[in-house]
C-alpha cells in the first residue's frame, strides 16, 4: 500500500511538473511533448491505481494526439522552436482569471462531490475490461455513439473546409480532388492578381487557335461548346464578338470572372471599344486557366510560349507596358509591342 501511495504521488508530481513545463518553455514542440508526458504520467497513475485498461489507453492515445497537436503548433506558430524569443502571450489577464476559476472549480468538485463508498475489492484487470465493454455496449452506448458521431461529423466538416475549392482565383493550387488529370494546368498562376494579364490580353485579343484550348477543358467546363479554336480572334472586329455572343449562356464559369475581366480591360483599351462584348469572351478564355494551377512549371512554360508566339505572330492587343509578369521577361514584351505597333 505504501509503495502504491509512493508511486501515485511520484507520478502525480511528475504530471504537475510537466504541466508547469508546458508554460515555461518557448519551444512549441517542447511544450506539446511536455503536455504529452504530463498525460502519460496520469496514465501511469491509473496503472498504479490498478485501472489497467484506462491507464494503457491513456498512455497510448496521448502519444499520438499530442504529436499531432505538436505538428499543428509548428505549422501555425511563427516561432515554433522558441529560438526567436518571441512573446506569444496574449490576453494575459483573461487567461489567468480563467485558469484560476477553473482550478478553483476543480478543487471544489474534489472536496464537495459525493464520491460514494470505496469498493471493498478491485476487480481483476481482465474483469475490468469485460465490465467496461459491457458498460460501453449497454447503459452508456448512446452517449458514446453520440460522441463518436459528433467527432465523425467534425472530422468530415474539417476535411471539407480543408479541401480547397478549385475555383478560388487567388490560390494557384486546386483541391486534391481536382488534382492530377488536367491537361492544361498551369494557368492558375495567372489568377494571382492583375499583373499577369498582359499575357491574358494576348489571349483575349488574338488568335485563340494558337492556344490549344482543348487542354483547358476542366471539370464541368465544356469548352467544346465554346469552340475556341473556331473563333477568329485575329479579326478583333465584330465577327469576333458575334462569335462570342454565344458564350454568354455558358454556365459554370463563376469565379473566373475576375480573371477574365482583367484581361478584357486590357483588350478593351487596345481595341478601342470594339470589344464591347468581350467580357464574356475574356471570361471564357481564362476560365479554364483557373481550374488548373496544379502544375506551375507547366504554367510557366505555357505562359512564356504563348507570350512569345503572340508577340511574333499576332502581337497586338494587350497593353504591353503594364507591369510585366515574372513569367515573361519585360523586355520581350516591350519588343513585341514595338514590333506590332498597335
Amino acid at each position: 500500500m505504501s509503495a502504491q501511495l509512493f508511486f501515485l504521488a511520484a507520478f502525480g508530481l511528475a504530471a504537475v511538473w510537466f504541466g508547469i513545463v508546458v508554460f515555461r518553455t518557448h519551444s512549441m514542440v517542447r511544450s506539446a511533448l511536455a503536455l504529452l508526458f504530463s498525460q502519460t504520467a496520469i496514465g501511469a497513475m491509473f496503472l498504479v491505481m490498478q485501472a489497467e485498461f484506462l491507464g494503457i489507453l491513456q498512455i497510448m492515445m496521448m502519444a499520438t494526439e499530442m504529436s499531432i497537436m505538436a505538428i499543428f503548433m509548428v505549422m501555425f506558430m511563427m516561432d515554433p522552436g522558441g529560438l526567436g524569443e518571441m512573446d506569444m502571450k496574449h490576453q494575459r489577464k483573461l487567461s489567468l482569471g480563467a485558469g484560476a476559476v477553473a482550478f478553483a472549480g476543480a478543487v471544489a468538485v474534489a472536496f464537495l462531490a459525493e464520491w460514494g463508498r470505496l469498493p471493498a475489492s478491485i476487480p481483476g484487470a481482465a474483469e475490468q475490461v469485460r465490465l467496461l465493454g459491457l458498460e460501453l455496449l449497454g447503459r452508456s452506448m448512446l452517449i458514446f455513439e453520440s460522441a463518436g458521431l459528433t467527432i465523425l461529423t467534425a472530422m468530415i466538416a474539417a476535411t471539407a473546409v480543408a479541401v480547397q475549392p478549385p475555383q478560388v482565383p487567388d490560390r494557384p493550387a486546386g483541391g486534391p480532388g481536382a488534382a492530377g488529370t488536367h491537361g492544361h494546368g498551369g494557368h492558375g498562376g495567372h489568377g494571382a492578381g492583375g499583373h499577369d494579364h498582359s499575357e491574358h490580353g494576348d489571349h483575349a485579343g488574338q488568335d485563340h487557335a494558337g492556344h490549344d484550348h482543348s487542354g483547358h477543358d476542366h471539370g464541368g467546363h465544356d469548352h467544346a461548346k465554346h469552340a475556341h479554336a473556331k473563333h477568329d480572334h485575329e479579326g478583333r472586329g465584330q465577327e469576333k464578338h458575334q462569335a462570342h455572343s454565344g458564350h454568354e449562356d455558358h454556365g459554370g464559369h463563376e469565379g473566373h470572372g475576375e480573371h477574365g475581366h482583367a484581361a478584357h480591360d486590357q483588350a478593351g483599351k487596345d481595341h478601342g471599344g470594339q470589344a464591347a462584348d468581350s467580357d464574356d469572351h475574356a471570361g471564357h478564355d481564362h476560365s479554364g486557366h483557373d481550374h488548373g494551377g496544379h502544375d506551375h512549371d507547366h504554367g510557366k512554360d505555357h505562359g512564356k510560349d504563348h507570350g512569345k508566339d503572340h508577340r511574333k505572330d499576332h502581337g497586338h492587343g494587350a497593353e504591353r507596358d503594364r507591369p510585366a509578369p515574372a513569367k515573361a521577361p519585360p523586355g520581350q514584351h516591350r519588343k513585341g509591342h514595338e514590333e506590332n505597333g498597335t
Binding site: 519551444s27 511533448l33 504529452l36 498512455i59 497510448m60 502519444a63 504529436s67 505538436a70
Partner: protein, 299 residues
C-alpha cells in the same frame, strides 16, 4: 531467473536481427558484423550539432529503445516466459510502440537539421497511415481469443493458427507492422536515398549506436508480435516452446527485411491513400468476417 533469460533472449534477438538486416541489405552473412560495427561506433566521436534541442536530441534514441523493449515485455516466448502478462497485453503493445513516434519526432526535431526534421514529421504522417491497420487486425485477433492477454491469444490458436483463420488480418498487420518499424519499403523517416538518413542523419558515435539498437529491438518486437498474434507463438510439435518462438520470430524478421528490399520505397501520399482507401475497409471487413466465424462456428 525469468528476467535474466528474457534479457539474454532480447540481446541475442536484437543481435540476430542486426545480422539478418545486414544480410538482407548486402547479401553477406556476417555473424561478427554487428559487433564490429558496434565497436566502431563506440570508438567514434559522438558529434553534437551546432544548435540542438539538447534534451530531445539526447532523449530520442533512449526513448526509442525503451519503447521497443517495453513493447516486447508483453509478448510471451513460451508459457511462463513473459516479462509482464498483462490482461490488456495486446493494447499495451500498441501503447508502447506509440512512443516510437514520439522518439522519432524528438530525433527529427532535436538536432535542428533539415533532413532529420523532415524525417521526423514524415513518420507522423506514416503513423496516420499505419496506426489503424495495426489496431484493427489486433481487434479481430482479440475477438477470437476473447481476451486482450497475449498468452490467451496464443492459446486460442491451439487448433488453427490465426494466419489461416484470418489471413486478411495477417496481411494487413504484417504490412502495417513493417511501416511501424520503418522497415524498407516504408523507411520514409530514414530514407537513405532522399533524406540522407533522415532522423538518423545527425546521430554519430554512441548515440547512433543506441538508436540502431532501438531500431533492431523494434524490428524484433514487430516480428514477435506477428508470431504471437498470427503464427501460434510457441505452439508447434517436437521442439520446446521457446525454440519454436525463436525460430518463428527470426523467420518472420528475415522475411520482413528481405521482402522489403524487393519493393521500391513508397511515397508518403501513396502510403496514406492505400492505407485509408483500401486498408481500412479491408480491416473492417476482416473484423466482420472474424465476428461471423466466431459467432457461427462452435468452438
Amino acid at each position: 531467473m525469468t528476467g535474466l533469460v528474457l534479457a539474454v533472449a532480447l540481446g541475442l534477438g536484437a543481435y540476430g536481427v542486426a545480422v539478418l538486416e545486414h544480410w538482407a541489405s548486402t547479401g553477406r552473412f556476417r555473424v561478427a558484423g554487428p559487433a564490429i560495427s558496434a565497436l566502431a561506433l563506440l570508438g567514434r566521436e559522438s558529434i553534437l550539432p551546432r544548435k540542438p534541442d539538447r534534451l530531445f536530441f539526447e532523449t530520442a534514441p533512449v526513448l526509442l529503445l525503451v519503447a521497443a523493449v517495453l513493447s516486447l515485455a508483453v509478448l510471451p516466448l513460451a508459457p511462463g516466459l513473459i516479462a509482464a502478462d498483462l490482461a490488456t497485453g495486446a493494447l499495451a503493445f500498441n501503447a508502447a510502440l506509440a512512443y516510437v513516434l514520439v522518439a522519432l519526432i524528438m530525433a527529427g526535431w532535436g538536432p535542428d537539421g533539415a533532413y532529420g526534421m523532415i524525417g521526423g514529421w514524415r513518420f507522423l504522417g506514416q503513423l496516420i497511415a499505419y496506426a489503424m491497420l495495426v489496431v484493427m487486425p489486433i481487434t479481430a485477433v482479440a475477438m477470437r481469443a476473447e481476451s486482450l492477454s497475449t498468452v490467451q491469444i496464443v492459446a486460442s490458436q491451439e487448433g488453427l493458427w490465426n494466419i489461416a483463420y484470418q489471413p486478411l488480418g495477417f496481411a494487413l498487420f504484417a504490412l502495417a507492422g513493417m511501416a511501424m518499424a520503418f522497415a524498407p519499403p516504408f523507411d520514409l523517416p530514414t530514407a537513405a536515398g532522399d533524406l540522407a538518413g533522415g532522423v538518423e542523419a545527425e546521430y554519430t558515435g554512441v548515440r547512433r549506436l543506441v538508436f540502431r539498437l532501438g531500431r533492431m529491438v523494434l524490428i524484433l518486437s514487430v516480428a514477435s508480435a506477428m508470431t504471437v498474434f498470427y503464427l501460434g507463438g510457441w505452439l508447434g510439435p517436437w521442439l520446446p516452446g521457446w525454440a519454436w518462438s525463436a525460430a518463428k520470430i527470426l523467420a518472420v524478421a528475415s522475411a520482413m527485411l528481405l521482402g522489403g528490399r524487393m519493393v521500391p520505397r513508397l511515397r508518403e501520399a501513396a502510403l496514406l491513400e492505400w492505407s485509408w482507401k483500401l486498408g481500412i475497409p479491408l480491416a473492417l471487413a476482416n473484423i466482420f468476417i472474424v465476428g461471423l466465424i466466431v459467432l457461427v462456428v462452435p468452438t
